[in-house]
Every structure is written in structure tokens, then in C-alpha cells.
């Protein structure tokens, strides 16, 4: 699954905009990925200028 590293994320919402399935939202100023919707296409990891989204192993 994809997680956003909060220390790196600037909140610019580029990933929110680019996500083809609208899996990413801004909730209380935090950028959060909804795992149920996320297809793991990895577009967010490619477009983020700060490298905040990253793949982590499923729990």
C-alpha cells in the first residue's frame, strides 16, 4: 500500500489532483490515501516533488 510521509509532505495536493481514482484526499490538512480505493498505480509516487508517497508492505 502507499503511505504519505508526513515529514516530507508539503500539502501541495499534486498527488490529490493526479490520482486517477480520487483515492487521495485532504482531511484536516493532512493528505491521506484511502486504501480501499487506491489501485497502487504509483502515479502519486512519480509526481510528488518531495518524494512523500512511498510504497510500504501491507500489514
Amino acid at each position: 500500500m502507499i503511505q504519505i510521509d508526513k515529514d516530507k509532505c508539503s500539502g501541495c495536493c499534486g498527488c490529490v489532483d493526479h490520482c486517477p481514482v480520487a483515492a487521495i484526499n485532504v482531511i484536516n490538512d493532512e493528505v491521506i490515501i484511502d486504501d480501499d480505493i487506491c489501485m497502487e498505480c504509483l502515479i502519486c509516487t512519480k509526481v510528488c516533488p518531495l518524494g512523500a508517497p512511498r510504497e510500504v508492505a501491507n500489514a
Binding site: C12, G14, D17, D29, D34
Partner: protein, 443 residues
């Protein structure tokens, strides 16, 4: 049953905030939807400069210092702005060895011989003022609201947020920025040319000593596009690197820049502060008719990249007034809001959009070396007329270097060859490269 608004505005940036203010003043039953929690916190990179005292989109904005209002005399309105500001005196291009091509002299500006060409504002405060005025006039503001879908019912438009909440409006103004999800949900992106994915990362420094720093500075001759922009606080600067190749290491480029003279000296006593800023923009050709099924697109949502703050405020103002007129005339259709489409066509699309729609060529860095850029920039050492109007900047650069071509041919025929190669580089190849190195949003 869900409430029916006259107008729903999506996005509380400068475009949406202005539309909301107008909607409130005009007495519309309106809702403003914004995904952030705090509308005055600006996360995306923005130089936050409003062009003043020169033509821009048919307007001649000026600031009334006594009453703290930005004045739009051609369209006939003014707005309160009581926040901090910083005069900007020009736009400079530097080459790797520090030579400068100057549009506007920072020295003359600071000594009072030249007026500012722009005022840097606190964009968050600007938006906050507009939205407060909208609220006072009855506009409902919903923050923490991510609009993800849009659809047309028989008599109204429905937008839905990530929580499944529905908002119904007779009209919708989409002010959701450069990567507008509404524009693509409505199918606009299918007809637009993809021009690139522009990634930008910015650091903020305090204690930097930038010579003639009260300007917006673009540093050419590097692998990425580097820029230095002042912040409202003296001595604070944003340093950013941007690229159309999503695999470029923007941080490494900034580090390389910071270790190269003369720029290293500018930042040698500087300390990075605060959080990094960023933005990533899906650049597509401007939309000619920013309207579909009673949804109006304003500002960046219908444009290519960075209409500028003025280029967002004016469409927001025009669109909200056009919606008002349509409601009064009971013409709930394209004809009813036609004054907005006329504004967009007259001030944005015809003068600039058409040309930008066919933009996209070779990147200078693929042809010109750092030394080539040093040579070219050094050919025009005297400051030209100051401007922050992006289109005037491009024209000035073009005119200046066109006049220098005979000299370049004589002194450096090798560079002349490269300039000709850049000019004749097939657009199709340049766009293919952008597609390969970007990440297009098409649907």
C-alpha cells in the same frame, strides 16, 4: 432533499474567493467548497505577486495605499487588502556566471526612480479577506470538502465530496486550479494537448544576500529551471527548482546551484527555514470555451499554467457576475452567462490562449551550454523597461535577441546554429518528450 444553491463555487483560491465575494454581494444563495481546513494557509508554490500599474488582461490594477484597496478601474471595482506587501521592481534572468538580463532595475526601484511593477502580497490574507466578505453576505463556506465528482441532473448540477455529501447548484463555478478534476470529469482534457508535467520544489532561506533582490529572478543554464523569489520578510527568499522530467532530482540540482559561484556567496550566510513547498502541475493547452452544462471554469482550471493572481481574480469576478445576470434573466444556459465567455475570449483566449495552445518546443538546455547562456545574457547588460506581465516579458526577450542575431552570427556562428536548430525543432518531437517524461492526466 439536498438544498439547491444558485451557485456552487469549488475552490477557495483567488479565483473562487473573488467569485464567492461577488456572489455574496449580489445576493446569490451560494456555497464555497474548499478541500483545505484553513483557507489562509497556502501550500502550493506561488510568488504571490499582483502586477500593478501596467496593462494585464484588459485591466490596469493599482494599489490605493491610503485606503488599503486594490483598484480595478477598467472593470470598475476595488477590494480591500490590508495585509503586508512588498514592492517588486522587475524580472531578471541570470546566466551561470551571474550575468543578468534585466527587465526593470531593482536599484532604480529602491531609490524611487522607478515605480514597482508588482506588489507581493500575503495570498492567504487576500483569500481570507474575500471569503470573510462572502461569509458576511451569506455565502456558506464548507472547508475540508474534497469535490471528487460532478454530474448534471435535469435542472441542476451536483457535486459530491469524498464523504459522499452532495451539493446541488443551478450553476457551478469550477475554480479548482491547474489540475482541475472538474475540467477533466467534464471531458475537457480529451481535446486538450498535453504539454508536460511540471514539478517544482522550493526551499525558504533567511539571511540570504541577493544583489538587487527585489525582483523575480530566473536562473538559466542549469539542468532544471531555477528561480529566486523574495518573500515578504526582508532577507527571506524562496529558492526553487522545476522540471518537466518527473525523474529529475530537484533537490540535487538546488544543492549544485548553491555550491556554485556567484550564487553560493549569496546564500553562504543563509539558513533554510520552515517547511518545503512544492507543486506539480499537469500542463495542458488552454480551453477556448470554459463552459459546459452550466459549469463555468475560471482561472487555472481552464488555462494552461499560472494565469497569475490577476488572471484568476478577473475571471472569478466576471463569472460570478455573469451567473447573476443569467439568474435575473432566467436564462439558465450558455447564452445566459455569455458575458463571461466573452470576457475569457477577449482578454485571455484570443490574445494569449490561442498562441499558448500551439506552444511547446525544444528545451534550450538541450542545445545551449552554460557558457552559451553566459554569452547570450551578457549581450544585453542594460536594464530594459520593467514589467511583470508575463507576455510582455516574452515579447521583450524575443525582440531584444532578434535584434542581436546579426551580432551573434558574426561573433558566435556556432551559437547561431544552435538557435536556428532550436527554432526549427519539430514540435511533435518536443511534445513526445514531454509525454515520455511526464505523467499526463487525461481522464
Amino acid at each position: 432533499m439536498a438544498k439547491l444553491y444558485d451557485l456552487i463555487i469549488v475552490g477557495a483560491g483567488p479565483g473562487g474567493a473573488m467569485a464567492a465575494k461577488v456572489a455574496g454581494e449580489n445576493g446569490l444563495k451560494a456555497a464555497l467548497l474548499e478541500r483545505k481546513t484553513d483557507i489562509k494557509t497556502i501550500r502550493r508554490i506561488c510568488t504571490m505577486i499582483i502586477n500593478t500599474d501596467e496593462e494585464g488582461f484588459g485591466e490596469y490594477i493599482t494599489y490605493n495605499y491610503r485606503n488599503k484597496r486594490f483598484v480595478f478601474p477598467h472593470n470598475g471595482f476595488s477590494v480591500t487588502y490590508d495585509g503586508p506587501f512588498r514592492p517588486i521592481y522587475g524580472f531578471h534572468i541570470t546566466s551561470p556566471n551571474g550575468s543578468r538580463f534585466q527587465l526593470g532595475s531593482a536599484q532604480k526601484g529602491k531609490s524611487g526612480e522607478q515605480p514597482p511593477v508588482g506588489l507581493m502580497i500575503d495570498k492567504g490574507r487576500w483569500v481570507e479577506i474575500m471569503v470573510n466578505e462572502a461569509r458576511q453576505n451569506g455565502v456558506e463556506v464548507f472547508t475540508n470538502t474534497n469535490v471528487n465528482t460532478i454530474s448534471k441532473e435535469s435542472d441542476y448540477v451536483v457535486v459530491t465530496d469524498n464523504g459522499g455529501n452532495e451539493y446541488r447548484g443551478t450553476f457551478v463555478i469550477a475554480a479548482d486550479g491547474v489540475n482541475s478534476r472538474i475540467a477533466r470529469k467534464l471531458g475537457f482534457n480529451k481535446e486538450r494537448t498535453f504539454l508536460g508535467t511540471y514539478k517544482d520544489t522550493a526551499r525558504t532561506y533567511e539571511g540570504a544576500q541577493v544583489p538587487d533582490g527585489d525582483v523575480l529572478m530566473f536562473c538559466m543554464g542549469w539542468r532544471t529551471s531555477i528561480s529566486i523569489a523574495p518573500e515578504l520578510t526582508e532577507g527571506h527568499y524562496h529558492l526553487s527548482a522545476a522540471s518537466y522530467s518527473i525523474n529529475d532530482n530537484l533537490d540535487a540540482e538546488l544543492d549544485r546551484f548553491l555550491s556554485s559561484e556567484p550564487f553560493a556567496s549569496w546564500f553562504k550566510n543563509a539558513k533554510e527555514i520552515g517547511h518545503r513547498n512544492s507543486c506539480v502541475s499537469n500542463i495542458a493547452s488552454p480551453i477556448q470555451v470554459p463552459f459546459k452544462d452550466n459549469v463555468l471554469l475560471v482561472g487555472d482550471a481552464g488555462w494552461m499554467q499560472e494565469t497569475s493572481i490577476t488572471g484568476a481574480i478577473l475571471p472569478g469576478w466576471s463569472a460570478a457576475n455573469a451567473v447573476t445576470e443569467a439568474l435575473v434573466k432566467n436564462q439558465i444556459n450558455k447564452e445566459g452567462i455569455s458575458t463571461y465567455l466573452k470576457w475569457w475570449d477577449t482578454y485571455l483566449y484570443q490574445p494569449h490562449g490561442k498562441r499558448l495552445a500551439s506552444s511547446g518546443g525544444a528545451e534550450l538546455k538541450e542545445f545551449l551550454s552554460a557558457e552559451d547562456i553566459d554569452y547570450l545574457v551578457s549581450l544585453a547588460p542594460d536594464p530594459l523597461q520593467g514589467t511583470m506581465n508575463f507576455f510582455v516579458i516574452m515579447k521583450s526577450i524575443g525582440r531584444t535577441f532578434a535584434a542581436l542575431l546579426p551580432k551573434i552570427q558574426e561573433e558566435r556562428p556556432d551559437i547561431m546554429q544552435k538557435l536556428l536548430a532550436i527554432r526549427s525543432f519539430p514540435r511533435a518531437l518536443a511534445l513526445a518528450k514531454r509525454r515520455r517524461e511526464g505523467c499526463a492526466i487525461t481522464s
